[in-house]
């Protein structure tokens, strides 16, 4: 193996050797540039992540016109903040209300709105979540510490096509005086998937 192994962890993981060998082959054959791979990784480490979605939600809470735009044309409204691209080509925003709570899943793979939430967490891709949240969402939400009122209906959105869903959680009480940056800090990744609620300010 041409690579130096000392700068990586998981020396005993066979996948480590497998991916390393594959990257070497692809690089040798001119199919990839490892610097481009670095750039992709850095993009999702620093530029594209749930902080983007949190800004969308905070703006929707603070600006009714933006919320309306998000309802009518989520793609354009989200693109106006500069969030476009891979796995967010066809965005839809779904708004939680006191009577309907929305939860997103992809039972068939791991479809997820990358442009606003970044890379999906392991649990979102897990067979446990994908199999159960369409059948027993209340039991699944309880595992996230979320128990909804009995009279709140649950709508599960199975992302079976290329539409990508961003849940707009309800704005917590006691946030009237907060600016958009402070509001965004209340918006968790889970609240934008539907397995959580926005944080209540301390």
């Amino acid at each position: 193996m041409p690579h130096d192994h000392h700068d990586h962890d998981n020396h005993l993981d066979p996948m480590d050797a497998r991916v390393r060998a594959l990257e070497t082959i692809l690089t040798t054959k001119g199919l990839i540039d490892p610097v481009a791979v670095d750039t992709i990784i850095e993009t999702y480490a620093h530029k594209v992540g749930p902080q983007n979605g949190a800004r969308v939600v905070a703006k929707a809470w603070a600006e009714p016109d933006f919320a309306d735009w998000l309802r009518r044309d989520a793609n354009a409204a989200i693109a106006s903040l500069g969030y476009t691209g891979r796995q967010g080509e066809h965005m839809q925003a779904v708004f939680n209300t006191p009577t309907q709570h929305n939860v997103v899943v992809c039972t068939l793979c791991s479809c997820y709105p990358w442009t606003v939430l970044g890379l999906p967490p392991v649990w979102y891709k897990s067979p446990a979540y994908r199999s159960r949240v369409v059948l027993e969402p209340r039991a699944v939400l309880a595992e996230f510490g979320l128990t909804l009122p009995e009279d709140t209906n649950i709508r599960v959105w199975d992302s079976t096509a290329e539409l990508r869903y961003l849940v707009i959680p309800m704005r917590p009480d006691g946030t009237e005086a907060m600016d958009q940056a402070a509001l965004a800090a209340l918006v968790t990744r889970e609240s934008m998937i539907g397995t959580g609620l926005a944080r209540v300010p301390a």
């Binding site: 996948m15 480590d16 054959k29 791979v37 993009t43 080509e89 446990a128 199999s131 079976t160």
Partner: protein, 218 residues
């Protein structure tokens, strides 16, 4: 295909177990696996639909034992061999002869634009919509060997058209090199009790985004 990926309503996988403060990757190779997969996708040899089919075609015992990035790498290796970009022998030995850069190699300077553009799959269709919002529809009962995006748990069930989204590339053909054949896409809402009978949680509705050919009038 009725493969291991089609998980809706399956049982036995245990609790979801979300991890507190989950790191973006659980090993350094996972980050490389993610980046390599996207960089190879940019070669434009196969559409995302075919990538999904390569993943769901893994043996169920492998699919359920693998982490998600391992599934990605195993599928990527299959596609690279299928399209003649890498040979099975090269994968087995880890050795390859140097070659000049591929004409569509993703260069670092092109990464930001490629990620910001993505791959839109909406396409114009000339036919009138077969269904309109509010109409009741039934999903077809079909068990194709090929890639499809109508999950098993929603086959043969009645729901209501909520919205129509225009034409989108049809995964069933596009995953197999048989053309994009765009069809109109609809969001269809199903009552929990229609899907799960007496075992449905009260107040549950499920929606899926389904192509016109997956639906018939109810």
């Amino acid at each position: 295909m009725n493969g291991p990926q089609d998980l809706g309503g399956q049982m036995g996988f245990g609790p979801v177990a979300p991890e507190q403060d989950e790191p973006q990757y659980h090993a350094a190779w996972e980050a490389r696996a993610m980046g390599i997969t996207l960089a190879c996708g940019a070669l434009g040899q196969w559409p995302l639909d075919e990538g999904r089919f390569a993943r769901e075609s893994l043996h169920p015992a492998i699919y359920y034992n693998a982490t998600y990035y391992e599934i990605w790498i195993r599928a990527l290796e299959k596609l690279l061999v299928k399209y003649g970009l890498v040979s099975a022998q090269e994968l087995a030995t880890g050795q390859a002869l140097p070659a000049p850069a591929h004409a569509r190699q993703l260069t670092p300077d092109r990464v930001p634009a490629a990620l910001a553009r993505g791959t839109p799959t909406d396409r114009p269709v000339s036919t009138a919509p077969k269904f309109t919002p509010g109409q009741r529809v039934r999903t077809i009962n079909a068990h194709p060997q090929h890639h499809t995006r109508l999950p098993r748990y929603l086959r043969g069930h009645t729901g209501v058209i909520e919205s129509e989204h225009g034409g989108f590339v049809l995964p069933d053909t596009n995953a197999h090199g048989n053309g994009e054949n765009p069809e109109r896409l609809y969001t269809v809402v199903f009552d929990g009790a229609e899907v799960w009978g007496k075992d449905a949680e009260p107040g549950l509705t499920i929606s899926a985004d389904l192509w016109e050919g997956y639906l018939e009038h109810a």
